[in-house]
Structure formats: structure tokens, C-alpha cells
């Protein structure tokens, strides 16, 4: 190749993957704000119990159901416990259970969905029909079954919520996979001799990723509430633990009389889900090579 004279050694300063990722992410103001909010939540989850103004478990029967005031920023509950402190302390449990269960469900569901969608034929049929049956099973029945088999416990709540999530993720991912696998570049990848697992995880998966992100971030709120309702069936945390979902559900009867009991847990769940969604969108944008900025 004599004619190639100018062999350029020039390379653009190729930044590390992580660094360029961060650099791109930084440009999204809302995403960064959400990220900081989320970090705050994580910090609260870690150190929350040691910075709260009141012991979240100590009742004060003389000050029950008080509205927000300077003393009690988010008011007090039916036992006179400080709602604000309970919310902060509840961060760990709610976020922990919510995030881990959704993640677990997402990972398992995604794998199943990819396999089902890519392989098709009987694999697809089997997985999807099992999912159909799972869909038909109400949560409460699964919860009872899980208590019977695994016994109660927080980790089992995580497992239970994850199990609810698996079939839905599987279906969502499968739908997208069916679409992606027909794209020409998948055929091109097959033509270079890529293994199925490589095609599935390196090529199909990234295409389904933004769908997964959306489902994942949207499901967090649902998972926090689901975890609470399982607690009520005796599967998980004790009803006295300060978990957001449980606080919200317990205060149902006070809707008309002590609105703050519903409002604040609802607000924090809303903000958490919102921040995750914004972050998810940011992430999606950053990972999208066609993204504008």
C-alpha cells in the first residue's frame, strides 16, 4: 500500500468511557439536580437515623395527629410520633427494598425477555405462557405462598416484589427484542459469526435499554407501595417500622382528618420517583449516540 503516504497517528484525546459519560451528563441541569436529590436520599439512608430530631419510634400520646409546625415539620402521626423523623429514617428501608426489588426484577425479567424474544419458537412460547400464569396470580396469593415457603423477612419482600416484576419486564423487553432482532445490523452481526449470547447482550440489549430504564424508573414508586402492602400481609417489615409506603397506607383512614399524614409520605415517594425518572431520561440521552447536546 505504497500510496498511503499520510498515515496519521493523530487521535482525538479519547476520554475514558466514564469520564465522557459524566461530561455529557453534567450538561443536563435537571438530571444533575435530580442526581443530587438522589444522593441526598442515599445520604439520608446511610446516616438518617443519627441526625433526626426525634426518635421515630417514641410515641407522644399528648400530641397525636398534629399538623405541620416548626416543632414537627411534617406533623405527628396517630401515636404522636414525628412524621419528619420517620420519613428520614424510612429512607433506608423504602429505597433499599424498592430499588433492590425493582433491580432484581428488572435484571431477571430482562434476561428472560431477551432470551424469549430472540430465540422465539418454543422458548418464547414457554417463557411467555409461564409469564401469563404469573400475571394472573394476585400479589396476595404469591405473598402467602412466599411466606409459606420462605417465611417472612425483609429479603423475602424483595424477592416477592421482584417476582411480581419479572414477568412484566420480560414481556416489555421481549416486545422490543422482537423488533430489534429484525434489524439489519443484527443480521450483519450474525454474519461476522457472533454468538447468540453476544448478539443478545451486546447488540439487542442496548437497543432495549431505554425502554428498560423507563419501566424501571416508573416501577420504583409502585414497588415501594407494593412492598408496604406485602408488609401488611405479614411478609416483611413490621408495621411499626417507618417505611414510606407503610406510612402512606396506614394513614388512609386519616385522609379527611389529618391530611399531612398522607401528604408527606406521598410527596417524598413522588419526588423520589420523579428524580429517578429525570435521571433516567438524562441517562437515556447520554447513551443515545444521536443525542443533540
Amino acid at each position: 500500500m505504497a500510496e498511503i503516504v499520510t498515515k496519521t497517528d493523530y487521535m482525538p484525546k479519547s476520554r475514558g468511557k466514564l469520564r465522557s459519560f459524566c461530561a455529557a451528563f453534567i450538561h443536563k441541569k435537571t438530571a444533575v439536580a435530580s442526581f443530587f436529590f438522589f444522593c441526598l436520599l442515599i445520604i439520608l439512608a446511610l446516616i438518617g437515623p443519627s441526625i433526626v430530631p426525634y426518635n421515630p419510634q417514641t410515641p407522644d400520646y399528648n400530641h397525636v395527629l398534629q399538623g405541620p409546625s416548626w416543632l414537627h415539620l411534617a406533623g405527628t402521626d396517630e401515636y404522636g410520633r414525628d412524621v419528619f423523623s420517620r420519613l428520614i429514617v424510612g429512607t433506608r428501608l423504602s429505597l433499599g427494598v424498592g430499588i433492590s426489588s425493582v433491580l432484581l426484577g428488572a435484571v431477571a425479567g430482562t434476561i428472560l425477555g431477551l432470551i424469549s424474544g430472540y430465540f422465539g419458537k418454543w422458548v418464547d412460547k414457554t417463557i411467555m405462557r409461564i409469564c401469563d400464569v404469573f400475571f394472573a396470580f394476585p400479589d396476595i396469593l404469591l405473598a402467602i405462598g412466599i411466606i409459606a415457603i420462605l417465611g417472612p423477612g425483609l429479603q423475602n419482600v424483595v424477592i416477592a416484589v421482584a417476582i411480581f416484576n419479572i414477568p412484566s419486564f420480560a414481556r416489555v423487553v421481549r416486545g422490543k427484542t422482537l423488533e430489534v432482532k429484525e434489524m439489519l445490523f443484527i443480521e450483519a452481526t450474525r454474519s461476522i459469526g457472533a454468538t447468540k449470547s453476544r448478539i443478545i447482550f451486546k447488540h439487542v440489549f442496548p437497543e432495549t435499554f431505554s425502554t428498560i430504564i423507563v419501566y424501571l424508573t416508573m416501577n420504583l414508586g409502585t414497588a415501594i407501595l407494593a412492598a408496604a402492602s406485602l408488609s401488611f400481609l405479614g411478609l416483611g417489615a413490621s408495621p411499626s417500622s417507618s417505611d414510606w409506603g407503610a406510612m402512606l397506607s396506614m394513614s388512609r383512614d386519616y385522609m379527611g382528618t389529618a391530611f399531612h399524614l398522607v401528604f408527606f409520605p406521598g410527596l417524598i415517594i413522588f419526588l423520589t420517583v420523579l428524580s429517578l425518572n429525570i435521571m433516567g431520561d438524562g441517562l437515556r440521552d447520554v447513551l443515545d449516540p444521536k443525542s443533540k447536546d
Partner: protein
């Protein structure tokens, strides 16, 4: 000044890795009504981007037009609102995209894609539009046109898709047709048929065509005038006959030299040595200088202007000796 389209100093840049890179760098040319103008040039020199810029279709990319003027029938397209631009697109200026697979809607039947524009711009009734669509498909040589109307792009061969693209663009009988490599995927008989069709469109309707192609044979066959681009710039412009007869710019010469010709089998084809410089390392002077056999000192220092000479234009110091002298004098002072 041309009476249909004038492009002046068009400059388009893309942003990647947070740097702006100009890929079209001050392009000037124009088209008269009913004229077929070819654009040839190095792959990646900005032909497609130029045409997208004219149509203002960089919307969804990271690119934007930085400078310049695109006057179409006296109006600067770059100043138009999106709404007025919409009225021009498809109806007055239509475009055939280079990549037919991805440029067709994969989930919409061919017929519908075709008819949409017809109904919108020609205001035909549904039945009439359908008939027109089928006729157009037949005219671009699509067999079993009625069936194809009900098929999806992935069921067609590459060449068929390309013909569908052509049909879509031609169906509304635009005043200017920008055809970005319209016949690359077609066999020569069909190609001939399409070129014929285009010529007919030109002669019957007075449609002007901007034909971007690599096939110098096609250029020779249909174009009236040719523009040669290199690295985001126009380097030469001439009528077809003149260009093939006496190419001025060394790049044009080399290009013509590289064409394989039937009946002249040789073991190696001529190809221009070297690469197009990457946008970050654009030489100061003439962009072609590093690969040019006639490069002079000045070529490396100062970029030549696009100068007119009779009916042709070129951007090369070889033909601007006077200027060179003066510049050199100035330089040595």
C-alpha cells in the same frame, strides 16, 4: 446569479465530542431552471450535507448551518419559517436520499408513503393519487407495481427501494430535484431508464436536477454542468463537455483518471495518493495540496479563491498565477 437556486458561502458544522467541526465550508454554486447539475467529489466531502442544508433537514442531527445564504426563487430559505419551508419541501424541492433502506419508513406500506406526498401537494383524490402512484412506480421500472404498493420496504431489494425513493421524489413534479446518488443500486438498464426519465422530467416540466453521484458515466450522460467538491468546498465548476475535455483542478484530473473503463483492463487502477485531511488537521492552504502533484509553496500557505474564468470556475493557484505573484510579493515584503 442563477435563476432557480443560489447557494452562497454555505457553512455547516457538526458538533461531536463537544467540538464543532465544519464539514461544509463556504460552498457556492447555483442552478438555473431546467438545468441538470452534477456534483461529484471525494466521499465524505460534504455533498450530502450540502443538500441537506439546502433543504434545512439537519434538524434532528447535531449539525447546524453556521453561515451562508440559500436563495431559492429569490427567497432565502435559511430565513424562512419552518411552516413556509414545509410548503417548499416536496413540492418545489424534492430530495432523493442516498440510503434508501433507512430513508423509507419501515412500517408503512410503499403505496401509502408514495400517496401521502401526492395527496398533500397535488391535492389529488385518493383513487387518483393511487393511480398516479402506481404510474410513477411503473415509470421507474418497478415490476408488479400494484403488489409493491402493498409491500413494506424490507420486502424489496436494494434497487427497488432506491427506485421507490426516486418515485416518491418525482411524484410531485418538483421544480428542483436533489438526487443524492440515485442510481447506485440500480443495474445499468434500469439506470438508463431512470436517467431517461429524469431527462424527460427536465425537458417536459422544466425540472432542475441537482445530481450527486460518483458515477462519472452518469454525469457525462445527463448533466449540463458539473461541480466538483473537495473537503467541504467547491473546487471546480464547468460544463460537462469542458470538464471531461479539459479538467483544470488537479483533483478533477485525478478523479477522471481513476475511473475504470470497460475494455481497458489493467491490474491496478489509478487512485489519488493519500487521504482527505481530517477536519482537525485541515491544512491552511489548499486542502488538496498534500495530495497534489502540482503543489507549489503557496498552495500550502494560502487557500485559493473560487475564481471564475469564462463560464467555469476553479479554486487552484495553478490558474491564478497573477494573484500568486502578487501575493508572493506581498508575502516577501
Amino acid at each position: 446569479m442563477y435563476d432557480l437556486l443560489n447557494v452562497k458561502g454555505l457553512k455547516t458544522a457538526f458538533k461531536n465530542n463537544n467540538q464543532r467541526v465544519s464539514v461544509v465550508n463556504g460552498v457556492d454554486f447555483g442552478i438555473n431552471k431546467g438545468e441538470i447539475v452534477g456534483i461529484v467529489g471525494e466521499s465524505g466531502c460534504g455533498k450530502s450535507v450540502t443538500s441537506l442544508s439546502i433543504m434545512r433537514l439537519l434538524h434532528d442531527t447535531t449539525g447546524d448551518i453556521q453561515d451562508g445564504k440559500v436563495t431559492f426563487k429569490g427567497e432565502n430559505l435559511l430565513d424562512l419559517s419552518e411552516r413556509s419551508m414545509r410548503k417548499i419541501r416536496g413540492k418545489e424541492i424534492a430530495m432523493i436520499f442516498q440510503e434508501p433502506m433507512t430513508s423509507l419508513n419501515p412500517v408503512m406500506k410503499i403505496g401509502k408513503q408514495l400517496m401521502q406526498g401526492i395527496i398533500l401537494h397535488l391535492k389529488y383524490s385518493k383513487e387518483k393519487a393511487k393511480k398516479h402512484a402506481i404510474d410513477t412506480l411503473k415509470s421507474v421500472g418497478i415490476p408488479r407495481a400494484e403488489d409493491i404498493m402493498n409491500e413494506y420496504p424490507h420486502q424489496l431489494s436494494g434497487g427497488m427501494r432506491q427506485r421507490v425513493m426516486i418515485a416518491i421524489a418525482m411524484s410531485c413534479e418538483p421544480e428542483l430535484l436533489i438526487a443524492d446518488e440515485p442510481t447506485t443500486a440500480l443495474d445499468v438498464t434500469i439506470q438508463a431508464q431512470i436517467l431517461e426519465l429524469m431527462k424527460r422530467l427536465q425537458s417536459d416540466r422544466g425540472t432542475a436536477i441537482l445530481m450527486i453521484t460518483h458515477d462519472l458515466g452518469v454525469v457525462a450522460e445527463v448533466c449540463d454542468r458539473v461541480i466538483v467538491m473537495y473537503a467541504g468546498r467547491v473546487v471546480e465548476e464547468a460544463s460537462v463537455d469542458e470538464l471531461f475535455e479539459s479538467p483544470r483542478h488537479p483533483y478533477t484530473k485525478d478523479l477522471i483518471e481513476s475511473v475504470p473503463k470497460i475494455g481497458e483492463r489493467k491490474s491496478r487502477l489509478y487512485s489519488i495518493p493519500g487521504h482527505v485531511p481530517n477536519p482537525n488537521q485541515m491544512p491552511n492552504g489548499c486542502k488538496f495540496a498534500p495530495r497534489c502533484q502540482h503543489a507549489m509553496e503557496i498552495c500550502f500557505n494560502k487557500e485559493p479563491e473560487l475564481t471564475s474564468e469564462e463560464k467555469r470556475k476553479h479554486r487552484c493557484w495553478l490558474y491564478q498565477q497573477n494573484n500568486v505573484g502578487r501575493e508572493q510579493n506581498l508575502g516577501s515584503k
